[in-house]
């Protein structure tokens, strides 16, 4: 669409430019009004671990360089495009510059120096992040299964193979998740018995894959000032149909609170389970193919036993009982199949409850009527 020099732009063109100006002003207003949250959206969340802070500092430097490069190069493109438009009717060839060796050398050398700088600082940060304290204050093994997390607390002087003192699963509510002390060095071991998962907490700016057969481990230290906070994480490596449900909560406790919590867990783990009430009936329940064989059970209010047969090879299940409000009233330990265990169910008030497998709650659940 060329116009002869000196003619007025058409009405359509004017309307077009007005619309473009209106849209631009609207967008600019939106940006200005939300400037703060737009700015922070270009950065990861505030780092809540010592390693995460290192990573954030590196990110900031990379970001600054990236912004400069973007503004310069994109600016050059835009300026060139605006400035060197062909005037209508101009048939004279522009200077046929084939190249310029000095220019080539310049824009080879300078980017090389920039990337070498970036490489060196990221290598230094990497060494800091990967550094491992030979005497950590706490060792925890995060076990990723399809499709939930559990956390095994290991005794002092543990290695990758050490058995746990006790274990906590990730569940809804404040009693589930990964409990960690603030201001201490924690050594995390990662283990998966099935497929590849990834341990990812955005506020640590960190993830590490959990690979079957591989002993990945790393140090984690949360500053003392973050005691009392909870951070969300989730599995970040596609692990199957329950991938989106594999969330995890990290609860940070002040050292004294953590010690109290830890001792309580040790006591609970070493307590013997209550014997099944004498004369109590036994209900049979089978898990196979990620399903329970019954969706409704009935049991007496005086207590009973669930004989639970897990037929799924290498897949762990359990049977937990929740009340009508969703609170867990009976929490049984999961175990991998093929195996069977007796779960003693203590006396419960009569009413309707839900039973579920805590690892596969979306597929394995049913109604328990206590009479």
């Amino acid at each position: 669409m060329s116009s002869t020099p000196g003619s007025r732009p058409s009405t359509t063109a004017i309307i077009g430019w007005l619309i473009a100006a209106a849209v631009f002003l609207a967008l600019a207003a939106l940006v200005v009004l939300n400037a703060q949250s737009i700015w922070t959206s270009f950065f990861p969340p505030a780092a809540k671990s010592v390693e995460g802070t290192e990573i954030r500092n590196l990110y900031d430097i990379v970001f600054a360089i990236a912004v400069v490069i973007f503004v310069v190069v994109e600016g050059l493109i835009i300026w060139t495009v605006v400035r060197y438009r062909r005037k209508p009717g101009d048939d004279v060839l522009p200077p046929q510059t084939h190249g310029n060796n000095l220019a080539e050398i310049t824009w080879t050398l300078i980017p090389t120096l920039i990337v070498l700088f970036l490489f060196v600082i990221s290598w230094q940060t990497l060494n800091n992040v990967e550094a491992v304290n030979p005497k950590p204050d706490l060792a925890v093994r995060a076990v990723a299964r399809q499709f939930s997390w559990s956390f095994e607390y290991l005794p002092a002087g543990a290695d990758a193979e050490t058995k746990a003192v006790f274990a906590i699963t990730q569940q809804d509510g404040p009693t589930g998740g990964l409990f960690l002390p603030a201001g201490k060095t924690i050594h995390m071991y990662l283990h998966s018995p099935d497929v590849i998962h990834a341990f990812y907490v955005p506020q640590f700016l960190f993830k590490r894959d959990v690979i079957p057969g591989v002993n990945n481990q790393f140090d984690l230290e949360i500053p003392a000032s973050d005691a009392g906070e909870t951070y969300r994480g989730q599995c970040a490596e596609l692990c199957g149909i329950g991938h989106r449900t594999m969330t995890l909560d990290v609860h940070v406790l002040a050292p004294a609170d953590f010690q109290a919590w830890y001792d309580k867990q040790v006591t609970a783990a070493s307590a013997t389970p209550p014997p099944p009430p004498s004369g109590a009936p036994t209900i049979q329940l089978v898990a196979q193919g990620l399903e329970f064989d019954q969706s409704s059970l009935t049991g007496p209010a005086t207590g009973f036993t669930i004989h639970f047969d897990n037929k799924d090879n290498l897949i762990s299940h359990d049977v937990d009982i929740l009340d009508a409000g969703g609170k867990k009233v009976v929490d049984n330990k999961d175990f991998p199949g093929p195996a069977a265990q007796d779960y003693p169910i203590p006396p419960l008030p009569a009413g309707t409850y839900k039973f579920e497998c805590s690892i596969h709650p979306t597929q394995m659940f049913g109604t328990l009527t206590v009479q």
């Binding site: 990573i55 590196l58 062909r86 005037k87 990337v115 490489f119």
Partner: protein
Amino acid sequence: MATTTLTPAASAYRSGLYEWLTTTDHKKIGILYLVNSFIFFFIGGIFALTVRTELAAPGLQILHDELLYNQLFTMHGTVMIFLFIIPVLVGFGNFVVPLQIGAPDMAFPRINALSFWMLPLAGILLLSGFLTGGVAQAGWTSYSPLAQDRPLASTGPGEDLWIMALLLIGTSSILGGINFLVTIFKMRAPGMTMFRMPILVWTVLVTSVLVVMATPVLTSALIMLFIDRNYGGHFFDAGTGPGSAILWQNVFWFYSHPAVYIMVLPAMGMISEILPVFSRKPLFGYKAFVFATAGIGALGFSVWAHHMFTTGQVFLPFFSLMTFLIAVPTGVKMFNWIFTLFRGKLTFSTPLLFALGFLSMFLIGGINGAFSAAVPVDFALQDTYWVVAHLHYVLFGGSVFGVMAGLYYWFPKMTGRMLNEGLGKIQFVLMFAGFNLTFFPMHQLGLAGMPRRIADYAANAGWNDLNLAATVGGFMIAASMLPLLANIFISRRAGKPAGDDPWEANTLEWATSSPPPPYNFDHLPEIRSERPLFDLRHGREAGH
């Protein structure tokens, strides 16, 4: 606008079905590749739109079965990479390269036809799982042990169909790569030395080297996975067997990283043809560009483990350094393109608009890739939507915009008719705006912690608005396909006749009729530079 007088006169492609099914003519095969690829582009696009519709708001709205969600993004990636991007660039190469070097056809025309027909067959095989018990669901990266045949992993035929389809496609690719290399090395017209070849031919050359050297490694990986799944093999069966999950990743990425250069280098070649023509200047730094392309090809074999930084099982500093270094030749190309435009006289036809879109979007894709090259930053960003943003900025903002530029540029040569400029500009604006609206927010989503490949997300995670914006953008991209389709169908019959050389271009394909006769050239002009047609038009002195 020159016109060649041909005896006998060339006809437009009105040949019958039998001719199209049995042709060995590189021009027709090229068009077959383009049509087939665009069909799969739309199929892959529909998968993407379904994914985006599900993610527009928290909660599972349209897909109650997370299995189907996993299948959809797996098929989206697989179809787009193996049945769209790689073949569409082969299609352009097929049509244009023999013409640009003054050859009558490819070196092995019958193998060329075989290479093409393996693709629709592979596509049907790949997608047939939707009718027969399920398609692959382990992501296009198909990591083991999720890809193994065990409960909660990849039971059913889908993964095996995926393996077999990719084996077919890989074979098609390798045969095509051999064909291009022999054609380029052996069939150039007299006077066309290697350093007088058009840049597109150079990029196809380097791409073909990558194809011939890297694709067979994928073949070996696929075969090993097939043996694991079906014959009790122990290559990758970690978790329940002694195999190594990391071994799969290493063998897979050894191909799949060079694959990304296979997916972008020819598109870079195409815009390197277009920018000079629409600036009326030669490509700035032709030789540097050739060396940069070769450098990218070579370096591309040394960076594969940067996809595995978070596994804790690779030698991080080496791969980080090589990944950073590959930014240098890429930057050289970027500056060469910009300085081609600089002090030129730019005509903003649709091909140039898409080429400019390529420049600005690929720049962003390259920059956000540099973040991931810094290993500790990658610990935060890997497997989040940041990576989805990066890969789409380079593959869509880069390669697809390059494909669109090439389509508008060479459609006249293929059909004898111009595509409509008005519709082209509408498509460009819609596509550019929609693309950025879809993928820019994904940077923020990744930074905020949204992982990839999740069917749903928590309502209180703070990701709702950005996801909704991305979905709206996705539908804008879909909408931009309408002017494109309308343009193609209308212009095929009623577009402005193009003549031999509607763009005042530089290379040999414009020295014959549109479309060219089956034997391509009646006469060839003298070839004394990389712009033989420019020299013919303006005299050799004017070019220097």
